[in-house]
Symmetry: C2
Subunit: 192 residues, 2 copies
Amino acid sequence: MRQTDYVILGLLEEGPLSGYEIKKIVDIRFGFFWSESFGQIFPALRDLAGRGLIEEIPGGETGGDAAGGPAEAKGRSRKRYRLVPEGEAALRDWMASPVARESYRLELLLRMYFGHLADGQTLAGQVEAFRRKHEGEALLLDRFRRELEPLKDKDENHPHILQVIDLGLKVNRAYLDWCRETLEFLEERTRR
Amino acid sequence: MRQTDYVILGLLEEGPLSGYEIKKIVDIRFGFFWSESFGQIFPALRDLAGRGLIEEIPGGETGGDAAGGPAEAKGRSRKRYRLVPEGEAALRDWMASPVARESYRLELLLRMYFGHLADGQTLAGQVEAFRRKHEGEALLLDRFRRELEPLKDKDENHPHILQVIDLGLKVNRAYLDWCRETLEFLEERTRR
DNA sequence: GGCGGCATGTAAGTTGTTACATGATTAA
DNA sequence: TTAATCATGTAACAACTTACATGCCGCC
């Protein structure tokens, strides 16, 4: 079992989803700390179904809208999967197991570390792009938080999701702070 | 050229290094935003040398000490590489190119997101382990910063390295803050 | 009829991890 | 002489990305 499998099991625990929907949720909700590609999700769904941890829901629906909205009868028919008890057991076992090594890869910091080999303008542009990205991320998380806060007693996992969002907000604030300082530093470097 | 190649070129720009030394530097200095394994470093060194971007320094030295200390005549003979002009050009080109997509994988946040499926004690233990790890990291960065600060005018890239350390410190502070809040949240959850 | 968006899927290639094999030296 | 540490290297595997192929539908 790889990490992708558990992401899928965890999301299916909230309700049935198709591969495409899983991808969208991971991109939007997990974006700041996780990513998955189609090339991981679809094979993982096939394998999980093969091992009897999830099952395909019969009667292929068609649709363009996620999460129970009105079926828009658009696009190719959707293949939704649901969690079965064996899958939930595997998920719970994993939840109790120790957390695997976390990994990061922030190329921008590599550029900064070797910064004396680039000109200040170029570096500043790269920092600026990073800043814009994380400004957007912070805005998204902020909106998501405001949507969820009033509903926090409606569902057992909402408080946990709020907790996750809070880390995203803190980290993004740290990034934005740093970008401000770093852009100042680079400006001064250019003047000298 | 993969990212590993540029990490190597960048480090060699400061002076000749062996694969083992590169690994140690990446672990200690880049630890909070990057990682490389031997399985990436050694083949990359071979390939870079093959393409004439770096070259092996003749006259195999033996040693246990990095960065110019007294040779301790310990262990198997060391194979050091140095950057050649072609490699420096490739490095500078890369520095001017746009930054590739950053990636993260924080499994702990996955656990938190699905937190309602685990008991509070277990989750708290996982958060606590995360806290300890990043406390250590913050301490390391702090020490590194204090060592480097007085020397910041001695070398063109020291101010850049300080800038990198500062991001590490900010992010780790954000993590530690979050851990405190989250442990409180989990404690309250357990009481209810 | 053709385009664009929704959706599923695969294959090829790249990248990265892990475990192991080797060798040399020092210290117990 | 055995263990530990330093150091290099490789092979097998696992994970991931990317680009593409397919198909269905609605719309112009």
